[in-house]
């Protein structure tokens, strides 16, 4: 177990230069052939935010669910939905990276865990761009820079590590069976609606349901980012949320190491 974990870490460290450059190539590929190229990374999320804001605040009038919060609903929405964009990409393409880079699997010698890191890095670069925009929006709305924002880099690192592990776990499995990719894509919708992206989990009145929702890692990240930007709370002030995430993190890590150990030599044969 530990030797496999050490191998994963060692591979990722030794190949870090290649991983970084391949991540940039991934983004170049995405923006290739479009006149607006890099702008599309921002336009798509912008559309998404507009639609949710319009449907929920203007249409359904459920705005500003945070009693403690200050500022309009759209600010509350942005702080949670921007991390979701990262997680959405990871749940979509990120859990099936082997089929995305078949040539790295069975044509060139490359550590398989590194392929997950390439995609996670590429997605994280986009996320960082969106984070910059989020900061600009918040400052433009007059919300000051304070100590709570120091959580943001920490959460970004945590988000990177966790979803990289998720990607390592599921991309191995989905290389072997298409069912896994389909299952995860089917789960993506319930995971979204049962997380706190568009409603406030802390406002759920039945305590055990609230506790249960915190076992969804998406809820953890969305709520923690929102606490940092909007609610001005430290994320560890909510112990149930941290326990729920810690449990999921450890289980995912163990499963990923176990799966990697069992399958990483077989993946190239079946892809």
């Amino acid at each position: 177990m530990f030797s496999t974990l050490a191998t994963i870490l060692k591979d990722n460290w030794e190949w870090r230069k290649q991983i970084g450059r391949l991540a940039v190539f991934e983004l170049m590929k995405k923006s290739r052939g479009a006149v607006l190229s890099w702008a599309w990374f921002l336009i798509k999320p912008g559309m998404y935010i507009f639609c949710f804001w319009f449907a929920l605040d203007v249409g359904l009038r459920v705005g500003s669910p945070d009693a403690a919060g200050s500022g309009p609903y759209i600010l509350w929405l942005c702080a949670g939905i921007i991390p979701w964009f990262f997680m959405q990409d990871m749940l979509g393409a990120g859990i099936d990276v082997m089929h995305r880079y078949p040539y790295l699997v069975n044509k060139i010698k490359f550590p398989l865990s590194g392929i997950s890191t390439i995609f996670t890095t590429a997605t994280m670069i986009v996320q960082l761009m969106l984070m910059v925009v989020l900061f600009i929006i918040y400052f433009a709305c007059g919300i000051p820079f304070d100590i709570y924002l120091l959580q943001v880099p920490l959460l970004l690192i945590l988000m990177f590590v966790f979803w990289d592990i998720v990607s390592i776990l599921f991309s191995q499995l989905s290389a072997i069976s298409k069912d896994v990719a389909n299952l995860m894509q089917a789960l993506s919708t319930p995971l979204f609606w049962l997380s706190g992206v568009i409603f406030n989990v802390k406002a759920v009145s039945i305590p055990w349901i609230q506790d249960l929702l915190f076992f969804n890692p998406i809820t953890f990240f969305v709520t923690a980012f929102r606490d940092a930007f909007y609610g001005k709370v430290w994320f560890w002030e909510n112990p149930m949320m941290c326990i729920g995430f810690a449990v999921v993190f450890v289980i995912t890590l163990i499963a990923a190491v176990f799966v990697y150990k069992k399958f990483n030599e077989e993946v190239a044969d079946v892809l």
């Binding site: 230069k17 290649q18 450059r21 391949l22 190539f25 170049m28 590929k29 290739r32 040539y103 790295l104 699997v105 069975n106 044509k107 060139i108 010698k109 490359f110 072997i176 069976s177 298409k178 069912d179 069992k262 399958f263 030599e265 190239a268 044969d269 079946v270």
Partner: protein, 266 residues
């Protein structure tokens, strides 16, 4: 291993015009290597097979692509792998390149491997030829400066002209293969794996490829593995031949004996 001794002995004489010298350093070592592929009726069967749940009818059986394969290749040798379709030549070479792992046994490889396995594979079709050169170079661990240095030689060798800055999906299959070949021979490999790659392009280009491979082979530090059905090509390039059949090694010796054995038996 009498065949091994005769292999080294013959290097001294007739074949010395191909290979200048062979050092004693072993760069590739196969020790009792077996590679088994489990075959299932469909992906679902394979998935269940992971959990050792082999339902009747879904598990079709297993095939040993390589079986108890043992050999050593020294630095600077040029070895031909002979055998008909399905003899396990490509599987053995894939294990040398490190993309496939043996089911049991040990494979040891020292040095940078450049493979001409499937020339058109391993390129990203959305990127341009020039970007693909950079991409592959980076995967191989070359620095930016080294890539810049190699680039003109690769572009020149591949004869792509203006197409080098076009996305690779617009290339013809010949253009892709030429670029693949040009890259593989340009990076000064320590171990070069050639799998039926010489049928690239027109006659003039083929001649250029053969000249380039010969040039690489003359370098005493480069080890070359060569897979082919054609005895004449093997004889031209290699000093030693290994004949494979159904995954096992049936003959290992000087190239002329190996091709004679191969011609007589298969």
């Amino acid at each position: 291993m009498s065949s091994n001794e005769s292999a080294t002995a013959s290097l001294a004489d007739a074949k010395s015009l191909h290979k200048t010298s062979v050092s004693d350093e072993v760069v590739i070592k196969f020790d009792d290597v077996t590679k088994t592929y489990n075959l299932y009726k469909n992906d679902r069967g394979r998935f269940l097979g992971i959990f050792n749940y082999n339902r009747k009818g879904s598990f079709l059986g297993s095939v040993d692509a390589s079986k108890n394969l043992s050999f050593e290749i020294k630095k600077g040798e040029a070895v031909a792998f002979l055998g008909h379709n399905g003899a396990g030549k490509s599987t053995a070479l894939k294990m040398v390149t490190g993309v496939t792992h043996p089911t049991s046994g040990m494979v040891e490889v020292k040095g940078r491997v450049s493979a001409l396995l499937e020339l058109t594979a391993g390129f990203d079709m959305q990127l341009t030829g020039r970007e693909n050169i950079a991409l592959r170079g980076q995967i191989m661990g070359l620095t930016r400066a080294q890539i810049k240095e190699l680039e003109p030689a690769i572009i020149d060798f591949a004869e792509l002209g203006l197409y080098i800055d076009q996305p690779m999906r617009t290339y013809s299959s010949g253009m892709k293969a030429r670029l693949g070949f040009a890259f593989a021979v340009a990076i000064d490999p320590e171990i070069l794996v050639v799998d039926e790659a010489l049928s690239v392009g027109d006659r003039a280009f083929q001649r250029k490829c053969i000249d380039r491979i010969r040039e690489i082979m003359m370098d005493e530090n480069v080890t070359v593995l060569f897979v082919t059905h054609a005895s004449s090509v093997a004889q031209e390039f290699c000093s030693r031949g290994i004949v494979l059949d159904k995954g096992t090694k049936v003959f290992d010796g000087p190239i002329d004996d190996a091709t004679a054995y191969y011609e007589a038996n298969y």
